[in-house]
Symmetry: C2
Subunit: 227 residues, 2 copies
């Protein structure tokens, strides 16, 4: 498995880097999905479920794992057969567009439908940096609690979809899904919300159906190249 050591991009503008990467991905017909969440919310488990299901969904998936240290996540998704690369961020709390572009170049993007960038586990800093993605997905796990939209508003505002994971643990935690959705929609009325359990498979078909439609839009040019 490939590991790439990155450093913060020293460029004139992260926005310009992001637009350049987005245009390149659009031209190649590959949707880059920036996946953001707290540490331990289940990003890798969700991606593993999407990869396993790709035998049926027929999606060709690549994964760019970004972490400060270790390569356990990339090893996990590679074992499932997905093309993957592990990026180390040199202690940085987020990925920028230049870092993302370098890692994707190293991994190779050809013949893929979708690439998931598993951003550094952090509910704050990644929301401030455009990575060049075509779609922003955030994950909130049930054990984290339904008050997170109150405390980390920017992350909810910048995401196209919220995946609520570990719903199988709902009986053991004080998580009010309705209250959570209200808080989220107050920040971002257009956000899509998908409650899922990667363990039981509940909610996965709805998420996969939506993702497939987004990928198809991206490839046929029906959606504008914006974040």
């Amino acid at each position: 498995m490939k590991v790439i050591e990155l450093k913060e991009s020293v460029t004139a503008s992260n926005e310009a880097d992001a637009e350049r990467l987005r245009a390149k991905m659009k031209q190649e017909g590959v949707l880059l999905v920036n996946v953001m969440s707290s540490p331990g919310s289940g990003k890798t488990t969700l991606l593993s479920a999407l990869i396993r299901d790709s035998r049926e969904t027929k999606l060709k998936i690549g994964v760019l794992e970004a972490d400060i240290a270790s390569d356990v996540d990339a090893a996990a998704v590679e074992k499932l057969g997905a093309r993957s690369i592990q990026a180390h961020t040199d202690g940085m709390c987020h990925m920028d567009a230049g870092m993302t572009a370098r890692a994707l170049e190293e991994m190779g993007t050809k013949d893929l439908d979708v690439i998931f960038l598993e951003n550094v586990g952090n509910l704050i800093c990644p929301a401030e940096f455009d990575t060049g993605s075509g779609l922003n997905l955030m994950i909130l796990s049930v054990p984290e609690g339904d008050d997170k939209p109150l405390k980390y508003p920017l992350m909810f505002e910048t995401s196209d979809a919220l995946v609520i994971t570990k719903t199988d643990a709902m009986p053991y935690f004080d998580f009010d899904a309705k209250r959570c959705a209200e808080r989220v929609r107050k920040l971002n009325p257009d956000i899509r919300i998908f409650p899922v359990s990667a363990v039981t498979g509940d909610g996965m078909p709805e998420l996969e159906h939506w993702l497939a439609a987004k990928i198809s839009d991206w490839q046929t040019g029906a959606s504008p190249a914006k974040r």
Copy 2:
């Protein structure tokens, strides 16, 4: 409840600010404990349990809540009778020593034994900034998984103690406590590890006993004012 709006400190040296605050707290006999963790790991729930138990432990507790937005945490601990203040960090992902000193001045530190600074929920950035605390406590909740020491090593290295929370949820998650402890001790051989459940109360007496000893050391001068 008091809410203070902070901005990043513009000073020559965060280290100097931290040493100054530590010396002041030492002189007053108040132990400042910097509590760090991911979002939703149970910091406020743990502090609430410590406050409730203070009827028996006789500790006079103050709480400085640091968040990007909202005041739900300070409201929760104030309802339990603890002196508290809510600090907003102007979008910042961590507290620095100058911000901490300003918030403590606003709250008042007199007649307290211990003040818990509930840092911004983030497993990366807070570990890089000395807040002027006499003790660093980190929390890892069972649902986050036992691989976190591999991915966020600095946080584990800079902490005096690790509190593993939500142990009551152990049956529902794949969390290997022994493997976690091995990974943590490889980074920080001297760290103390306390598995607790604030819901059932399991492990709380051991943590409280250790904290009381640390406070007593701090007040009698037996421990050096370092961090």
